[in-house]
């Protein structure tokens, strides 16, 4: 029998809270971290962003005893992972523990704003990840998953495989991104950012908002079934269509969905947590992929209206909030949605709903034509 992969601890640090529970409660209560900015650095175009207060992160690091010469990005990774590792009770310094970091741009802000006393080589993603493994005294070489917006789902898939191989017993999967003028100006240049809070799947959607979050899951491999959250399977598929636009037929997303549906018990599927960035193309593409996969009637929910697009953290944070929602028999409201705005009418609502079932699918898509899906199941 393949080893069973379970999530034994989790953490989310965002503008809405510094642990998973407070984040879930905030979202359920309808709170959002999105705020409007008129400018930033050389950017003079207004945009909406969900930004973490640096003082909160410094305070959290102080409380957790995280001391050292770290960048904001590294502190962000640490303050989430230190809490999750502590809650898991694992010995993170063991060589049976693999650390996997999910990020798109890491310390890229050092390019535009070098910091005194900080080596410039920390812009290299694996060097930043090394700061984390060294903090925990973990002897393994770090690995960073850098698959654009789908990185957080890919990192969990990679962790699942590394654990199933038998080489490791635990995986600490950490996702984070810092929003700096680098990323914001880039998405503005694509005309992909809205100057209003985003409206996923709505007919008047105007684009995405970016956001900051750090999220961690600690996964355990075991040879016996136990109760708790099981990471059942996942798949990554490419559109082979365009490097910066999704396939018009949702090809890669559809194929990733079909792969995870092989293991899904349809009557137990509570909802699909979609990418739902609120760009015209993404949401349309996802509606087509969901339709083609026979999921048009399954409740769909998206969290970008609360957090914006948190990039490297998205796949991890959105998986964690989905776990809390399933346990709460709740489909979280898709904040910003009002009226159907996709060709296929996906089952999305702007208010909270009750649901049944013990499974959910997490879906993501990103630049490079990449798409990924994960299936989680709660075992009583």
């Amino acid at each position: 029998m393949a080893r069973v992969i379970r999530c034994i601890a989790d953490n989310v640090v965002s503008p809405l809270g510094t642990d998973s529970r407070s984040n879930y409660d905030s979202v359920k209560a309808g709170r959002s971290g999105l705020a409007r900015y008129e400018s930033m650095g050389n950017i003079t175009t207004p945009f909406v962003l969900s930004r973490v207060d640096r003082k909160v992160i410094d305070g959290l690091c102080g409380k957790l005893g995280i001391e050292g010469n770290y960048t904001f990005f590294e502190k962000f990774l640490l303050c989430s992972s230190v809490q999750a590792v502590r809650d898991s009770g694992i010995d993170a310094s063991s060589d049976r523990v693999i650390f996997i970091v999910s990020t798109t741009k890491g310390n890229v802000s050092l390019l535009g704003a070098p910091q005194e006393g900080m080596e410039q080589e920390r812009v290299l993603l694996a060097k930043a990840a090394r700061e984390v493994t060294e903090y925990f005294g973990n002897p393994n070489n770090p690995i960073v998953v850098c698959n654009a917006c789908i990185s957080g789902v890919c990192a969990q898939i990679e962790a699942m495989r590394a654990l199933r191989s038998g080489r490791y017993d635990y995986a600490v999967v950490i996702g984070a991104d810092e929003q700096s003028p680098f990323i914001i100006s880039g998405f503005l240049s694509f005309k992909a950012i809205s100057d209003e809070p985003c409206r996923p799947f709505d007919k008047d959607r105007k684009g995405l908002n970016l956001g900051e979050c750090a999220a961690t899951v600690v996964l355990e491999a075991s040879d016996v079934k136990k109760n708790g959250w099981e990471l059942v399977c996942g798949a990554i598929r490419n559109d082979a269509n365009h490097i910066s636009g999704p396939s018009r037929t949702g090809e890669g997303s559809y194929l990733a969905l079909m792969e995870v549906l092989k293991e899904c018990r349809r009557d137990e599927l509570a909802f699909v947590n979609v990418h739902g960035t609120a760009t015209a193309y993404n949401d349309e593409m996802e509606s087509i992929a969901l339709y083609r996969a026979g999921l048009i009637e399954v409740p769909v929910t998206g969290l970008k209206g609360y957090y914006g697009h948190t990039m490297g953290a998205a796949g991890i944070m959105e998986s964690i909030l989905s776990m809390y929602a399933v346990r709460d028999n709740t489909v979280l409201a898709t904040r910003g949605y009002n009226e159907q705005g996709t060709t296929w009418p996906v089952n999305v609502k702007s208010e909270l709903r009750e649901c049944k079932g013990s499974e959910f699918i997490k879906l993501l898509s990103g630049f490079g034509g990449s798409n990924a899906a994960l299936l989680y199941r709660y075992v009583e």
Partner: protein, 211 residues
């Protein structure tokens, strides 16, 4: 019987080698990639829009497929059983620096979407997937340095996806427009079953990255 080694292509700013045969060339740096494109590929104008990282990965993949006579999939024919799994240590640093220049100065501020898109290292996997009609897995991993054992481990893990029975695998790095290193190889499922052998094969390619 001794097992046949993996086919491979190794490139850097002054070197191009296919299965141990050094390709003759005149140019160096970015111009070497253009020369290799003109002499050996020539039918994919999207090449000229790519950044150095993507060009280095793309050219290496094309030379590899040409060497082993791998069929091109075109028209409505797509393949789902081949993954693309690439590694690097500097990721998109070259593109990051180029893009940063366009936003650094207030008086010379011209962020370009065409440059920004390449600030994601997995774009090279997308470029190769588009060219070859691959709808399988595409992944990019960042390591501190080319580590054959670490790469062999993660490649063998990638075969856990039931749909994947071969992987275009390789290493791509670029820190400046005229500075790059890449190797590309094709791994079958049975190759990955022996992680020690696979690591040994990858080490031979790594040894040539700095030739």
């Amino acid at each position: 019987m001794e097992r046949k080694g993996l086919d491979c292509v190794v490139l850097n700013q002054g070197y191009a080698c296919v299965n141990g045969r050094v390709l003759e060339h005149e140019a160096a740096g970015n111009a070497l990639l253009a020369e290799l494109y003109r002499n050996h590929i020539a039918d994919w104008p999207k090449f000229f829009k790519m950044d150095t990282l993507s060009k280095a990965g793309f050219v290496a993949s094309e030379l590899l497929f040409k060497e082993i006579g791998d069929n091109r999939h075109e028209g409505d024919e797509f393949v789902q059983n081949r993954a693309i799994v690439l590694f690097g240590s500097t990721a998109s640093l070259c593109a990051d620096r180029n893009y940063q220049e366009t936003i650094q100065d207030k008086d010379n501020y011209y962020p370009s979407p065409a440059l920004f898109v390449y600030t994601l290292p997995n774009i090279v996997t997308g470029e190769i997937a588009i060219r070859n009609h691959y709808r399988g897995e595409t992944s990019f991993y960042v390591l501190e340095e080319p580590d054959a054992a670490q790469m062999a481990f993660h490649l063998s893990c990638a075969f856990q996806d039931g749909a994947t029975d071969s992987i275009l695998a390789g290493w791509v790095d670029s820190t400046q427009n005229d500075d790059f290193q890449s190797f590309m190889t094709l791994i079958q499922k049975e190759d990955a079953a022996d992680a020690g052998w696979l690591a040994g094969q990858l080490q031979l390619m790594i040894n040539n990255l700095n030739k």
